[in-house]
């Protein structure tokens, strides 16, 4: 049987239900009506699940898509820069080689 500390692993709906619905109510000056706790739990569960699920089935393309993720964008930039440097080096080498070839003629 699971005996759990409420801080660590209380399930979502319990925490929501107790803090949003229970607890002492003494009229504060600012009031908020909170939507149905069950519906809220389901929504949160779906959000959490959809992120996990997406990762699981490899649908995490947005993490590497430069339009959606700045980290990915930086990576893309670095890659381009590296490619650029390499191409530049090859051109330099080719030009040098051509110059040498020309001298021989």
């Amino acid at each position: 049987m699971a005996i759990e500390q409420s801080t660590q692993s209380s399930n979502l709906v319990d925490v929501l239900e107790t803090v949003l619905d229970k607890g002492v109510v003494i009229a504060g000056d600012i009031r908020v009506g909170i939507a149905d706790v069950e519906l809220l739990s389901i929504k949160i569960r779906l959000i959490v699940a959809s992120v996990d699920k997406a990762k699981e089935i490899g649908m995490d393309w947005w993490e590497t898509d430069p339009y959606l993720n700045s980290k990915a964008a930086n990576k893309e930039d670095e890659k381009l820069k590296e490619e650029n440097d390499q191409l530049q080096k090859r051109i330099d080498a080719l030009e040098k080689k051509m110059a040498q070839d020309n001298r021989l003629v």
Partner: protein, 267 residues
């Protein structure tokens, strides 16, 4: 700039004097949580920027599911942290006052009740029990041990083969009905045995599978207010009952100690 006051809960001043308040950030992740004393009781609060947490700003924030998720857990964790050190009257999420005067007048109005409540809660804690049920296992038991079912089976044995077929299908339906009754009866029997250790109990709603995200069904959900001195006996009784009911397909889930959210009442 104007600041609002967010109230987490009420604790006794003398307990705070012996155990200093742990330092942590408030709901907005900026202002520190601190206490305000009112003649023997302390309000645990944090300040909030008025422009960001006034009525309309807060309404907008609470409509954002992710914001609400994060902040409700902040409230829960803050109150739980306080509960580990002090006797506490836990407030409902988002109890906010326009300023010091407003909070002061509210606390003055309820001062006597709050002091009494703190004294009553001082040696008590709240525990939550949920029972989940594996319908298949319990169905077997119901089918084998339920008196109504047994009689019906005897009746069917006397019938002609043609009628037996029809009646057996009806019997399946009857078993389903009896199964629901048995769940309720067994759970409430378990509850009664635990209630004898408790100062107060409350029976809560069973959450659906959509809400719990579990594959087995919740068939009981209740809270117990226990004297600290009785907690150990209560826990070993829960363990004992779990052993007894395991074969029936009952899975217990016990959580606690919780701040006394269900039993701290000012009215």
């Amino acid at each position: 700039m104007a600041e609002l006051i967010y109230l987490y809960g009420i604790i006794p001043t003398n307990e705070k004097s012996t155990t200093p308040l742990p330092s942590f950030k408030g709901l907005d992740d900026e202002h520190d949580v601190h206490t305000l004393s009112f003649d023997g009781i302390d309000a645990v609060v944090c300040n909030l920027e008025e422009s960001e947490y006034n009525q309309s700003a807060l309404e907008e924030k609470t409509s954002d599911v992710e914001w609400l998720h994060e902040k409700a857990f902040h409230h829960h964790e803050a109150v739980t942290k306080l509960h580990e050190k002090y006797t506490i009257i836990p407030m409902k999420f988002s109890t906010i006052y326009s300023g010091y005067e407003s909070l002061e007048s509210t606390i003055k109005e309820h001062h006597k009740k709050m002091s009494d409540l703190l004294a009553w809660l001082s040696d008590k804690e709240e525990w939550n029990l949920k029972i989940y049920c594996d319908n298949e296992a319990l169905r077997e038991r119901t089918s084998a041990h339920n008196l109504t079912i047994e009689e019906k089976k005897k009746e069917i044995d006397q019938m002609s083969p043609g009628r037996q077929y029809l009646e057996k299908r009806k019997l399946d339906h009857l078993i389903d009905q009896e199964l629901e009754k048995d769940k309720e009866t067994y759970s409430s029997r378990i509850h009664d045995q635990l209630a004898s250790y408790s100062e107060k109990t409350d029976i809560k709603k069973n959450w659906s599978k959509d809400v719990t995200g579990r594959s087995d069904e919740m068939c009981w959900n209740s809270v117990y207010l226990l004297k600290e001195a009785n907690v150990e006996d209560f826990l070993s009784q829960v363990k004992h009952l779990q052993e007894v009911w395991k074969e029936t397909g009952f899975q217990f889930e016990l959580t606690g100690p919780w701040p006394a959210y269900h039993f701290a009442k000012l009215t």
